[in-house]
């Protein structure tokens, strides 16, 4: 038999929160490196504000009860339990969709989408646009415990397919993802075109290397590739650490809330506004709720998949293969995963829908949820037409 989902609610023990409060009052701050606030990493004035908010104003129990309003399950799967949030959509025929977050996000990235996507009629929309949402936490993220092996994005896609079909009974479904979730979703669409109605991504990360021999990059594509490589300069050290020595990093992430916050929040700044003098497009509560999900789980384990980013296997399409299911993308200009030209997308994807948003970055579910909601509805309507 397929795995049996066990009903789950987040009920963090009081002693875990008391221990965290202790740590938040005992931070040992380092020196601020000379230069501007974000020049050498996470800004200290910013981080001091976040940590003060975490200590004095953040209410985990409120988030816990908010999250617990949705059905959740722990599903025993090949490499350990997977935490899944499920929201049944309104109406007679909601479209099943599985949504995947990435690093350093978590399912918190997707929370603002849940109610409007599942129940559009409560937000001035049409019930015909309703989705039934399945939101798993990647292996080792938050309430999905550390997996017993370093699972690849492609294997994770297989887990997701099993969740959708065998466990939750959706034989045809849509797939959405961003960041590592974009990789997972793309593999799932490649490997299960018989089940995946459509693929929707908020960044397009697949590398269609095998196509370059036959079709050398156009001038526009070369310009994009050059710009992308240049943008990675000085920005990929975290990938090297995650992908090569995650255990060394894990001790400080697991032991120090400020260490975890600094490691994660640098990306929430760099991959959105990026500039020193702009406020981040998030409120502290959402940023900290995401940190909490990592803190309450095992933040080291959430970095394990990066070894497959370093060896490129997470993103490299097998020779001769291309995603044939109808694919829609909604790309954001400030994303660190820079929006490629259409021609580049078409090398890996059967592109039927392409939105280039006017603003936004790597975390659209938190930055501008309505843009993502509208785009998912538009993509689904296109597929149903």
């Amino acid at each position: 038999m397929a795995p049996i989902p066990v009903p789950f609610k987040i009920q963090v023990e009081e002693q875990v929160l008391a221990d965290l409060r202790q740590r938040l009052t005992r931070i040992r701050w380092p020196a601020q490196a000379p230069g501007t606030a974000w020049q050498h990493g996470t800004s200290m004035p910013f981080l001091r504000e976040v940590m003060a908010h975490w200590r004095d104003n953040f209410d985990w129990r409120q988030w816990e009860s908010r999250i617990n309003r949705h059905s959740q399950f722990l599903v025993p799967m090949a490499w350990g339990d997977i935490h899944v949030l499920v929201e049944e959509g309104s109406g007679d025929n909601p479209t099943p969709i599985i949504l995947s977050h990435g690093w350093p996000g978590s399912f918190v990235e997707l929370l603002e989408l849940v109610e409007p996507l599942a129940h559009p009629e409560r937000f001035g929309g049409s019930v015909a646009d309703a989705f039934t949402l399945v939101i798993p936490s990647l292996p080792g993220y938050g309430f999905s415990p550390p997996p017993t092996a370093m699972v690849t994005p492609r294997q994770t896609g297989e887990l997701w397919h099993s969740l959708m079909t065998e466990v939750f009974g959706h034989s045809r479904y849509l797939v959405h993802g961003g960041d590592m979730g974009s990789s997972v979703s793309s593999w799932l669409a490649l490997d299960h075109p018989e089940a995946v109605l459509g693929l929707h991504l908020n960044n397009a990360v697949l590398q269609p290397e095998w196509t370059l021999a036959e079709q050398p990059p156009t001038a526009e594509e070369q310009e994009f590739l050059g710009r992308f490589m240049a943008s990675m300069e000085g920005e990929s050290a975290y990938q090297q650490i995650h992908g090569t020595k995650p255990q060394t990093l894990a001790y400080s992430l697991a032991d120090s809330p400020v260490g975890l916050a600094a490691w994660i929040l640098e990306k929430f700044q760099r991959w959105t506004v990026g500039a020193e003098d702009c406020a981040l497009p998030f409120d502290y509560d959402h940023l900290i709720a995401n940190l909490m999900v990592h803190w309450l789980g095992d933040p080291g384990a959430a970095t394990w998949m990066y070894r497959y980013l370093l060896d490129m296997s997470a993103f490299t399409l097998p020779p001769g293969r291309r995603i044939e299911v109808p694919t829609g993308v909604c790309l954001f200009p400030n994303d660190c995963a820079m929006p490629p030209p259409d021609s580049w997308l078409r090398r890996s994807l059967n592109l039927v829908h392409c939105t280039r948003a006017a603003s936004g970055g790597h975390f659209p579910g938190l930055e501008c949820p309505q843009v993502l909601i509208d785009d998912l509805r538009a993509f689904n309507r296109l597929l149903k037409a």
């Binding site: 066990v6 009903p7 609610k9 399950f73 049944e88 939750f168």
Partner: protein, 112 residues
Amino acid sequence: MARFLMAVYSHPVPGMEDEYHRWYNEQHLPDVLRVPGVVAAQRFAALPGEDGSRDPYLAIYELDCDNPQEVVAALTAAMGTDRMVMSDALDLASIKITFYDPVSARQVAEEG
């Protein structure tokens, strides 16, 4: 149609035993019985051991279906909606679910 048994073991949240039994008997069994494929249900309490401790409570569901996985999917979809209201009195961490497939015919003692 094959007939399967679904056994669900659980404990109440300490101090909420009355609410647990009320919810389970009056709300939950009728909710589950509305799921297609579930045809009968009954709950049992383990008799206390010598030290007074109890094994988990048991709910036995009889399923008439070809594939119990479809019943699981339907149960999962209903859970948390108004079709299947959950209770804070149920200790979710204590839940164990096992499905059983008959490996013999039902045999009964001879009258006498």
